[in-house]
Amino acid sequence: MLLLVCPMLAHAQAKRPTLMVVPTNSWCAEHGFLLKNTQQGATTQIPDYESALNNSIELVSVITKIGELMSDRGFPLKDLSQTIKTLRQDEAEDEMLTSRSSGAILAETSIDRLLKRAKADILLEMAWKVNKTGPRNSVTYLLRGIDAYTNKQVAASQGTGQPSISTELPVLLQEAVLDNMDNFIIQLQNHFEDLVANGREVSIGIRIFDNGSDLSFESEFNDKELTDIIEEWMTQNTVAHRFNLTDATETMMNFEQVRIPLYKENGKATDARNFVNELRKYLKTSFDITSKIVTKGLGRADLILGEK
């Protein structure tokens, strides 16, 4: 048996997190690349990456350089401009797509529309500022890696380069990227090593559809509240029983810092969706609770109880 399982584990590869470089919101604001978005009377400003990429050659140059250095380390990045192009292309194609027999258009829920955005598991937020002291210019550069679903900063590097009278901005930026990249990668590698050793950190939300079924987290099954049943399942299935139940009410449970194993028992790589799917199966088979999974990337999945 062991001989059968070992080769499977040896070939098992954890899903590699996707990384994408984006300019920080503050950089977009400073350079005027913001979009106003009005929803239900409230106006918010969101970064306009498309416009930034079309109008700032320095931005494209810095993103390209970071991408090149990461590729050299065997970790190619998801490209922001290509991701935006693909999103636009998909939108255009989806609008044109109709059924041949009935002429029906594609079904799209509001959550589908919301999820249609440029995203990655780790966002590399980058910004720079040109400092002028008399005739001298220097560049303050910042690069930080944010886990998009736990919102944790997992790596960062920043610094101000040497002031120069004659050196042009692209050269100063290139120097800044080269000077800061190794320190950044060292921290990123520490984060990856932690993932491999202690499991992937994910967030899990559990909600209940308001469908009049009277199901709540206070509902009792075999003399146990649903909250306790789910918490017990989490204790048994997380790496070293590590998770935080940050919020728990009768209608929702939020788990953060949930450490899930990188591989299943059969050697297959796992992510937040696979992990929550096991909980879904458990609730269905043991308590006949139907539920629906909403995936929000490798590191975040929600389970909504009550119906599909």
Partner: protein, 173 residues
């Protein structure tokens, strides 16, 4: 007799003064030594600091060796530069440089057997001394000899990754 005694006293004072000067001189020399200076596992007493941004794939570092002799072979600078880049990291406040160690000193202990042989080998493919960059200064009875060294850090890291002593970024994925 009186003159002899006066002479003797003067001689004593002179001797005390010389002793004090030696003591203060020695303290001054000790204060001048940088704090990061200490003996390494490769048997050299050296300090390392940044020397500007190198071309892509390289670091430029200034290595200072403490030696009883004024002439030190380039190989010693190369060895110290590679050792410093791997296990100590370097910085330079003036040039606003700060670089972490490539692997950290705990790795030196973990793979002690490998590094013992590694540092005895020819390391010229990983670093070279920049021509005409040598400076020699005498402090006390020892020489402080500095050279700028170009370290081919990408090649160094790749080779050590191949040998399995450094983990790749993709390790585990």
């Amino acid at each position: 007799m009186i003159r002899q005694s006066s002479c003797y006293n003067n001689y004593n004072k002179l001797e005390i003064m010389v002793r004090y000067m030696k003591l203060y001189g020695l303290s001054l020399i000790l204060l001048m030594l940088p704090l990061e200076l200490f003996s390494s596992g490769i048997g050299e007493e050296y300090s390392i600091e940044g020397a500007g941004t190198g071309v892509e794939g390289t670091y430029l570092v200034k290595v200072t060796l403490i030696s009883k002799k004024a002439s030190v072979a380039d190989e010693a600078f190369v060895r110290c530069a590679v050792h410093g880049v791997l296990f100590r990291g370097f910085e330079n406040q003036l040039l606003r440089q700060h670089q972490r160690a490539m692997v950290g000193s705990e790795q030196e202990e973990e793979h002690a057997d490998f590094y013992e042989i590694f540092f005895r080998n020819d390391l010229s493919s990983y670093a070279k001394v920049v021509e005409d960059s040598r400076q020699v200064r005498m402090t006390g009875k020892k020489y402080r000899i500095s050279s700028i060294v170009q370290v081919f850090k990408d090649k160094l890291r790749r080779d050590l990754e191949e040998k399995g002593v450094i983990k790749k970024l993709t390790n585990g994925f």
